[in-house]
């Protein structure tokens, strides 16, 4: 059941009304109802792993309490390690088992062994990368005494399973979400309307921008051997936009739906293409994953390697980004994707500009020429790296890039002057324009301060664009992770 389906509309309307009209007597009623709705939602999406989700919730709840209540540091560590082994083990088994299994045999064969192997058929539970990281973060925070564990199983279960973010995030932090669950939620007109705006914008991003870009990018990627360099470059442009619109659209819908239930999820994207360096980009792209990795991987690692100064910092960054890449899937392509992003940080480390992050052209209508050049260069770099996010193998990725940097890059792209491409370029332009206008705001479609006529014209215009240019979409790119 995806957010942009009729099924979800049929699900969300009664859930919303029952939540506020029937189950709003106390936080306990609200939480019981939210848990029921969340489990129903997950069951509808994929009932086969409901037991896994429940099991993971119970074990992490128990471990959180044990870590907190055990006075001895050594025993605390043991419970934390059990938690780490359990959660990472789940991920390793369901997501990475075949990757390592095949890798092991390939190494054996490289040394002359003639072993054969058959990959196991392991289904990937929906949302496993998201809820596992969330519970991992929870256990580490409890261990580090940054938060107290949730004593209440019901509240903890809602924290893990809350339906708007269970399938594809944002990867919520216990310190932010649990306190909201521990309070009775009160409906706010402004917050709900803002949530609805975010849903509308997310819907537009997904079914208009992402799906129309996919229409152009997919055939190019599927037939890359026969396309000119310029066409391949155009394919990467549309894929980069597709990837962003798909996932940011999903995130906006998730955050918007959550607001309808009085719960604020963390922002996941903050107009990342308006960044002037890679560090700034990652502060704005998939923010819930990036901050998670910064807190639980990069910071401890760079602290450990601090004696090695810049060298230690570079190792920490590259390790973190390789893990960011690998988090996405058990494929070398994601490792290369992460590695390249890590490498892009190296010049920043040496120039001491790693912590530079700012809103481009803050308070101004237009960016400076220097900012435009920086943004374009960064976008091109990201766009080319996204090739590894899209292709099935590293060799295909390099062949694709080789195809781009051939003499045929000066040809006119074969698909440039089709009506589909021109319409999609116009839609992408509109999408980016609205993002640019709202780049300093809390989300991409925060228009609450506009006058009522302008607001309604905006809503209706977005609806008309969705009606005319929307494409049906049954899945999101990030569902596979």
């Amino acid at each position: 059941m995806v957010f942009n389906s009729l099924d979800f509309v049929v699900f969300i309307i009664p859930v919303f009304l029952l939540y506020w009209l029937v189950f709003n007597r106390s936080k306990v009623y609200q939480n019981i109802f939210l848990l029921g709705a969340s489990l129903f939602f997950y069951t509808w999406a994929d009932w086969r792993f409901l037991a896994l989700l429940i099991g993971s919730t119970l074990i992490n709840y128990y471990l959180g309490l044990k870590i907190f209540r055990t006075p001895e540091d050594r025993k605390k560590s043991i419970f934390l390690y059990i938690g780490l082994v359990f959660n990472v083990g789940l991920l390793l088994y369901f997501k990475y088992f075949n990757f390592f299994y095949e890798g092991f045999y390939e190494i054996l064969n490289a040394f002359g062994s003639e072993s054969t192997y058959n990959s196991l058929v392991i289904l990937l539970p929906l949302g496993i990368s998201f809820f596992t990281f969330q519970t991992l973060g929870y256990l580490i925070d409890v261990y580090n005494e940054e938060i107290e564990p949730s004593e209440n199983l019901l509240e903890f279960s809602v924290f893990v399973t809350f339906f708007p973010k269970i399938l594809s995030g944002p990867i919520e932090r216990a310190s932010s979400l649990i306190p909201q669950i521990q309070e009775k939620r009160v409906i706010s007109y402004e917050v709900s309307v803002d949530g609805l705006r975010q849903i509308l914008w997310g819907l537009f991003a997904k079914i208009v921008v992402a799906e129309n870009c996919a229409l152009i990018a997919n055939p190019i990627f599927n037939n890359y051997e026969n396309e000119s360099g310029s066409t391949l470059l155009l394919g990467t442009f549309f894929y980069a936009i597709q990837l962003y619109a798909d996932f940011s659209g999903y995130s906006n819908m998730a955050i918007g739906v959550s607001k309808l239930f009085g719960i604020q999820l963390m922002r996941n994207f903050s107009t990342p293409f308006f960044s002037t360096n890679i560090s700034d980009f990652w502060r704005k792209w998939h923010m819930s994953l990036t901050t998670w990795m910064m807190d639980y991987v990069f910071t401890p690692l760079s602290f450990t390697l601090r004696r090695h100064q810049k060298k230690g910092l570079i190792i920490s960054i590259i390790t973190t980004f390789v893990l960011v890449g690998f988090w996405h899937g058990a494929n070398w392509t994601f490792v290369v994707y992460g590695l390249l992003h890590g490498i892009y940080f190296v010049p920043l480390v040496f120039s001491g500009k790693m912590n530079t992050s700012e809103i481009v052209a803050k308070g101004k209508m237009l960016p400076s020429v220097k900012e435009i050049i920086k943004m374009i260069l960064l976008f091109v770099l990201i766009m080319l790296t996204d090739v590894f996010f899209r292709v099935e193998s590293v060799s295909v990725g390099f062949e694709y890039l080789q195809g781009i940097f051939s003499l045929s890059i000066i040809d006119l792209p074969s698909v440039l002057f089709t009506s589909t491409t021109l319409i999609t370029i116009a839609l992408v332009g509109f999408f980016m324009l609205i993002e640019w206008i709202n780049r300093e705001k809390k989300h991409d479609f925060e228009i609450g301060n506009y006058n009522i006529y302008l607001r309604w014209i905006s809503y209706i215009s977005i609806f008309v664009l969705i009606l005319i240019f929307g494409k049906s979409a049954e899945t999101f790119i990030y569902f596979q992770f």
Partner: protein, 310 residues
């Protein structure tokens, strides 16, 4: 809460109003079938797949068959081979669209071998039909304007973008007019090759269903109560005729048998000497000019047949 619900309702009303406007004004351009389910029940009908949907023009029949005093206008209730192969489901839908008060209608059933093909994985005797989830079988209402049921159940069929280009128009009489066919013969060759691959796939995956053949008999008997029934095999390229006949070897014989047993005419335009006069754009679909010519010739055949009976 009240204020929120009120605003939400207002927003949905605006959305509904815009959607309704588009459906009413451009329903024939933004979906290939939508218009078929917005018109009143029909006293006379064309039944078939995409060949008849594009190749048989009701306005021509209405004009030409006036002299035979049939109850007109005739409505083209053909969809495509994916939606309307002959079978109990299509029969049921025809029953919904048929004006039961009709006593002297004219019913033209366009048949092709593929319309009797069933997926090898489907057991028709157990009620398994590949078309079951598609329109018009997933709908209760086939004569409602605007038809929101069709919109909600078949949203993926719509292509609202087309309202700017209007490359095809589904007319109120059920005829699909392609307005913007390319002129480059290479494109037609490519389309024909694609259709050929589709036929090869169907030959691999389909088998002739006796239940569908029986359904044709049931349909004819039902329609005969409301007027005269004619069966027609529309003209297609000869190489495709050979492909079709390899799928259903006794097709013409079986059709003739059904026609004879029900005392109706079967017009087979793939054996007549005039066959080569009809030019298709992809091997088996007539364009609007070819369709006009063919409909006139079909009317000639019907008039001739009716006069012979008299």
């Amino acid at each position: 809460m009240k204020r929120l619900l009120l605003k939400l309702c207002l927003f949905f009303i605006c959305c509904l109003a815009i959607t309704t406007f588009v459906l009413v004004e451009y329903g024939g351009n933004v979906d290939y079938f939508y218009q078929k389910f917005t018109t009143p029940k029909a006293v006379s009908m064309v039944i078939g797949d995409s060949r008849s949907m594009q190749g048989i023009q009701p306005r021509v029949i209405n004009e030409r068959l006036k002299e035979l005093k049939y109850e007109l206008p005739i409505f083209n209730y053909s969809l495509t081979i994916a939606e309307t192969p002959i079978g109990p489901l299509y029969n049921k839908s025809i029953g919904k669209k048929l004006d039961e008060t009709s006593e002297n209608g004219v019913f033209i059933i366009s048949v092709t071998p593929w319309m009797f093909g069933s997926d090898k994985n489907n057991d028709n005797n157990k009620g398994e039909f590949r078309e079951a989830d598609r329109p018009p079988h997933n709908m209760r209402f086939v004569n409602m304007n605007p038809n929101y049921e069709y919109l909600f159940k078949n949203l993926t069929y719509f292509h609202f973008k087309a309202l700017f280009r209007k490359t095809s128009t589904m007319h109120k009489d059920g005829w699909l007019e392609e307005n913007n066919l390319p002129t480059n013969p290479k494109v037609f060759d490519e389309w024909k090759k694609r259709q050929g691959r589709l036929f090869d796939k169907m030959i691999r995956n389909y088998e002739v269903s006796s239940l569908r053949l029986n359904s044709l008999d049931v349909l004819i008997k039902k329609l005969k109560k409301h007027g005269n029934v004619y069966m027609v095999r529309m003209p297609i390229d000869l190489d495709f005729v050979a492909v079709e006949n390899s799928f259903y070897k006794n097709f013409d014989k079986d059709m003739s048998t059904v026609a004879t047993s029900n005392q109706i005419e079967y017009f087979n335009f793939n054996v007549s000497s005039t066959h080569t006069n009809f030019k298709t754009y992809d091997g088996h679909h007539l364009d609007k000019h070819g369709g006009l010519e063919f409909t006139n010739i079909l009317c000639d055949s019907i008039i001739r047949s009716a006069n012979t009976v008299k």
